[in-house]
Amino acid sequence: MVLQDVLSVRNVYEDAENAKDKKAALGTDITIENFSSEEVNAIDVIDDLNDLSKKDQNTLLSVGVDSDESDRAGSFLQMDQSNIFTSELSDNIELMNTGVALEKYDWLENYLWNAVKPDADKYTAEAALKEKEDGTFSGYFVRSKPGTKEFFPVQACMFIADTDIMQTAHNIIIAEENSELHLITGCATGEDISSALHVGVSEIYLKPGSKITFTMVHNWAEQVEVRPRTAIKQADNSTYINNYILTSPVNSIQSYPTTYCEGVNSKALFQSIMSGQKTSNIDMGSRAVLTGHNSSAEAISRAVANDSAQIFARGHIKGDKQEVKGHVECNGLVLSDDSSIYAVPILEANSTGLELSHEAAVGKIDEDEIYYLTSRGFSEEEAASMIVRGFLNMDITGLPPILADYTKKMIDMSVKGM
């Protein structure tokens, strides 16, 4: 049976059709019709990431995508709706366009629209209906082979080069049994992009004993609307680590990646660093549903709001079984009177014998900290910016040493550029 028929049987398209006008539960509502659809593979492929302009290479680098591909297991670049570059540099992984992968592997259809529901809201619905209309799939498929532990990260980039367009991507990430996979995904826009919409659907699957680290860096233009839709399914003894870094202005972003810790001893850790500037409206959450025996999750966020930015920092842990553990931590600094931070930690306990906790603290910079630094010779302005950088520069845990070092440098770089 052809794929579209399979998805029709699963009611994917019907569900999507019914959710076409379904507003998202959170975030500002975007009029999708204001953005034009891009033709698939309208842009020519390139042989090497270094064939991109120096400016674009630098933009890629700012979101962790190295055009030299040094210390990388592979690269994927999607520009607008075109997959213009793919490389596999390690035998431990497979990396290709999702459409290509679906043609290669019949079994992959079971992973499509499984963790993320097509009728979640109008953005997922639009992504599904666009796939039907185009007859193909954008985004990337990455899979780590059973028993392999790839040390170097796979880098994937979603790049918007044309103005006023809607970019969609459907990513499927699978870590096979007892494998380890590290991903850096960078999302950015080219110069002169006044407005655009990005809808990225990511479905992530962790087989027993596997580990995935997923580090996402966003560097969008000021008028871009971003609606990533991510869900993760975790089997026994799996570990999922999600890092999110946003330090440049964006018009609006709303995302609430959700992991389902279904397996025994499955663990999830979300770490988010957000800096809201100008008129950015940021609504970022992390959710874990703990149904596996002895599963655990932690959601940690640091948010800084300046100018007239508005940040919602959400963390939601739902414990459905005994012996599960969860912790939510939201810390925020408000730097201007016109900006605001809403820290929303939610704990939901549906069983006895579980342990869920949260801490949230939002406020201005502690004056004592500023004065302490002035007593060491820093001016008040230097002290304040150092404190903000220090606050955001949290230690990202769970990454292999090289990637940890690189991520730290990347955070340093993006925080310094604020």
């Binding site: 502690d366 900290e369 004065y371 302490y372 007593s375 060491r376 010779g377 820093f378 950088r389 220090g390």
Partner: protein
Amino acid sequence: MLLEINNLAVEVEGKQVLKNVNLSIDEGETHVLLGPNGAGKSTLFLSILGFPKYNITQGSIKFKGKDITNLPTSERVALGIGVSFQNPPAIRGITVKDLLKYESGQNENEELNPRMKELANKLKFSEDFLNRDVNLGFSGGEVKRSEILQLLAQQPDFTMFDEPDSGVDIENVELLAEELNVILDKHKRIKQRKRSGLLITHLGYILNFVKADKAHVLMDGEIACSGNPDEILLEIRKNGFTGCVKCAQCL
């Protein structure tokens, strides 16, 4: 005169805390400031340091002949004033090493210089410790040693120490005092000493290891008595601060 305070009056949040304070400290001298809780010792320190909350309503502070009464803290520090705090704040994301590099004039991307590494080692700090966020989760003794280490990096000409031995294990007081003596040029002959200091101490224990040239007793925001540190301490130990002040009034 290195530091000259004339007729100083200070308000904190509208409330007068210090009045008629006169204090002069010469090059190479170490003075000690004694007084009961709430007498205004820390206020005097932080006024000399120039923290904005401490509003000078009268008088002046001169350092190296320059009127610094209205200078911001960082400029006073640049002139050569340093301080070790009793309870410094913990700052997330700023490590001891970050501060040491800045204080010793190094670039943030450079490796910490060998002199500082050696000093850290002497103060029983490991490399890992230097990578910790400053004061976050430090024990009382670690806080004090980290403050002293930072002063060793800064090398100020005039240093104020707020209760440098409180919360420090007895075995570490001597270690700390040794470095205090370095900061205060105590290893040099009296005439060769250039660097000066002002110590706040409650119990005077540190004075067994760091010799002061002069002591002052601060009571109710005023310097009630000044003189030989040993004699004053003896009097305080015998008759308490009130007795000490009474004695001064008899003179």
